[in-house]
Amino acid sequence: MRILVAEDHPALGADIKRVLESRSYLVDLVTHGEDALALGLAMPYTLIILDILLPGLSGLEVCRQLRHHKRRMPILFLTALGSVEQRVAGLDAGGDDYLSKPFDFRELEARVRALVRRESSEKTAILRFLDLTLDTRTHEAWRGERRILFSSKEYALLEYLMYHPRQVLSRTMIAEHIWDDDTRHLSNIIEVYIRYLRNKLCAQGEPNLIQTIRGSGYQLKEPQL
């Protein structure tokens, strides 16, 4: 999951990035409205967190422009001024949710999870696919009754797959959502991680859930008999 955070407060922006990164999200942090708009248009973000008072272009304007250019990702507003007018303006500009500063990071995390869920068919914090269960709050995973421990990248990849069940996810899509774009040899690395995931998920001979679609990518799918 790649998240764009536009926040000009140096300490707060860095804190949000750190907190979200600790939850295995990939975070791009910008401090200017123009940068937020440029990145928001260029990258398929899962979620955008916008501060309303941004230098250059205001958060509201960034949101309006993104919606004008048919960008549909959820947008969460951060407002220092918690007035009704501001919140209404934010939601009317195309925002999906707002959070008044100061806020508790746990609430931010929960709202981020809620907005990410909204995009997927799953509506709770616990993702399920067949006998595979993923708790997005605690990053715990189970196959049936068996608890599985994942490294952070393995978890991020599995979560991405679980949010998009039965969809074919290309290596490029996976790369953009899980890794920083400056990492090379991504197709090999993704291959290794898929292998890791399969090994862990099928450690006790369970059927394979991650299918390789030759030339296109990977798919979380019911095992073929």
Binding site: K153, D182, T183, N188, I189, V192
Partner: protein, 487 residues
């Protein structure tokens, strides 16, 4: 610490001046106090000596005959020094001028008293103590509130105490002398302090003269002429050390600039090649001079070059972020043997393409702490290099083992090898062993940055990477990482 910031930070000269002045003030205060107390005790002791002498003189003048004290010549010139009971009581005009003498008989009754003495509030102790043999000395106040130093001693004759003689003198004069001294000191001190401050300011300015010269010299050296150096003074002092340090700094700056310039030049050269290919192929396609079936091969070439361009840019980004210190490494526990096995498995297609056999020895449990993706990059880069620089039918051996406190990865190939003179530069950016880039370059995505990235990642994990090579025999890359002990 922000709140403690002074509103106007003082310049170093002013600071030095203030420090000098403060120290000077303290020293002068100490010296003044010492001088004053010494002077006071001197004055007091000379006064005491004079009193004792006077008392001795008077005592020597008195004798006892049949219980009556007899006075001789020496006391005759003391005005008003008469028998107490015979005297007409006239209050003295001025205690200061008054002579303070009193003689008491052996039973403590006054025999003779000067008029001024009557004004004194004399304690009983001053009579009782001399009568028991010990002289008494102390300060008493006169009726007008002035301090008087009083000295009492016994009168003796044939080792018998026959009476007491008391002599006093006013302390007013001594006090006024002391006051004068204090006021003179207080008058001179500010002048000395002011002169001291000015001199210290001048001295500080003088001391900074060589530094000013350094500043001017350093100012002349601008970005463009980094080959210049500041003059180094001959004297072995701080300024020389500063000049040497500055020169060292300019030196490393110059080298950094050179590296940067070369890096930019190399990077733009590397970027230009794929762009040129893409442009020419695209132009060919646009001119419609090719048959429809050739379009796909043109597009494939464009795609390949675009991919290489993308890889190059990724590598450049990685390195520039690493230089900035912006890349954060995760610190996860990793089964390094599994990682190497998995990576080796993914390079099978390339190995088959190159017709090189890959042999992996990773049966030992080797755990390290680090960034999984970055370590995968290390293994991939080394393995890919080994495959690309090995002739068909060659062999690549990958070994993972734990050695004491180190996790060791060895990638050994039977490839073309590297000449000894090229080894030192091998990990430099854009360094290529084959400048002509003939060897399998066409199917390679090698950017010339791979080994630089390997070195950076390994160093960032607290490890090291070494290479041994013989031309025609092959190369061996050895990566060592801190081993994670099982707890």
């Amino acid at each position: 610490m922000k709140g403690v910031h002074r509103l106007y930070p003082l310049g170093i000269r002013l600071q030095l001046m203030l420090w000098y002045s403060a120290i000077c003030t303290v020293l002068m205060l100490v010296a003044g106090t010492l001088f004053y107390t010494r002077f006071q005790t001197r004055l007091a002791s000379s006064l005491d000596t004079a009193l004792q002498l006077q008392a001795q003189q008077i005592a020597g003048d008195i004798t006892e005959e049949r219980g009556v004290l007899t006075f001789h010549d020496a006391t005759a010139d003391l005005p008003g020094f008469d028998l107490t009971d015979r005297r007409i009581h006239v209050p003295p005009a001025d205690v200061n001028l008054g002579i303070l003498v009193r003689v008491l008989a052996g039973d403590g009754t006054p025999v003779r008293t000067t008029p001024a003495f009557d004004q004194l509030q004399v304690p009983q102790e001053s009579v009782r103590q001399p009568l028991s043999g010990l002289p008494w000395q102390g300060d008493v106040t006169s009726g007008e509130g002035q301090l008087v130093r009083l000295y009492s001693r016994a009168l003796t004759q044939d080792n018998q105490i026959i009476g007491v003689v008391q002599v006093g003198t006013s302390l007013t004069q001594m006090e006024s002398v002391l006051q004068e001294v204090v006021s003179e000191l207080l008058l001179i001190a500010p002048v000395i302090l002011l002169v001291g401050a000015l001199v210290s300011y001048w001295l500080a300015s003088r001391a900074f003269l060589p530094i000013d010269r350094l500043i001017w010299a350093a100012r002349v050296i601008k970005e463009g002429d980094l080959h210049q150096r500041v003059p180094v003074p001959k004297a072995q002092d701080e300024v020389r050390a500063l000049a040497l340090t500055l020169n060292d700094m300019i030196d490393s700056l110059e080298r950094a600039f050179q590296r940067q310039r070369r890096f930019v030049a190399d990077a733009s050269h590397e970027l230009r090649t794929p762009v040129a290919v893409i442009r020419s192929k695209a132009e060919m396609a646009l001119l419609q001079l090719v048959s429809p079936e050739d379009y796909s091969s043109l597009l494939a070439m464009i795609h390949q070059e675009a991919e290489r361009l993308g890889h190059l840019i990724s590598d450049l980004l990685t390195l520039s972020r690493a230089d900035e210190g912006k890349l954060q490494l995760e610190r996860e526990v990793i089964r390094f043997d599994h990682l190497v096995q998995a990576i080796a498995a993914t390079t099978e297609p390339l190995a088959t393409e190159c017709q090189v056999t890959v042999q992996v020895q990773a049966d030992e449990l080797v755990m390290v702490r680090g960034d999984e993706t970055r370590l995968m990059q290390v293994v991939l880069n080394l393995l890919e290099n080994a495959l690309l620089y090995t002739n068909e039918g060659g062999q690549v051996q990958v070994v993972v083992q734990a050695r004491e406190h180190q996790a060791v990865l060895i990638v050994r190939d039977t490839g073309i090898g590297i000449a000894p003179q090229q080894l030192p530069q091998l990990f430099e950016r854009f360094y290529r062993v084959d400048p002509a880039r003939t060897f399998r370059y066409t199917n390679s995505s090698n950017s010339g940055l791979g080994l630089s990235i390997v070195k950076w990642i390994v160093k960032a994990h607290g490890g090291d990477v070494k290479v041994e090579s013989q031309v025609g025999q092959g190369s061996t890359f050895t990566v060592t990482l801190p081993l994670l002990m099982e707890t």
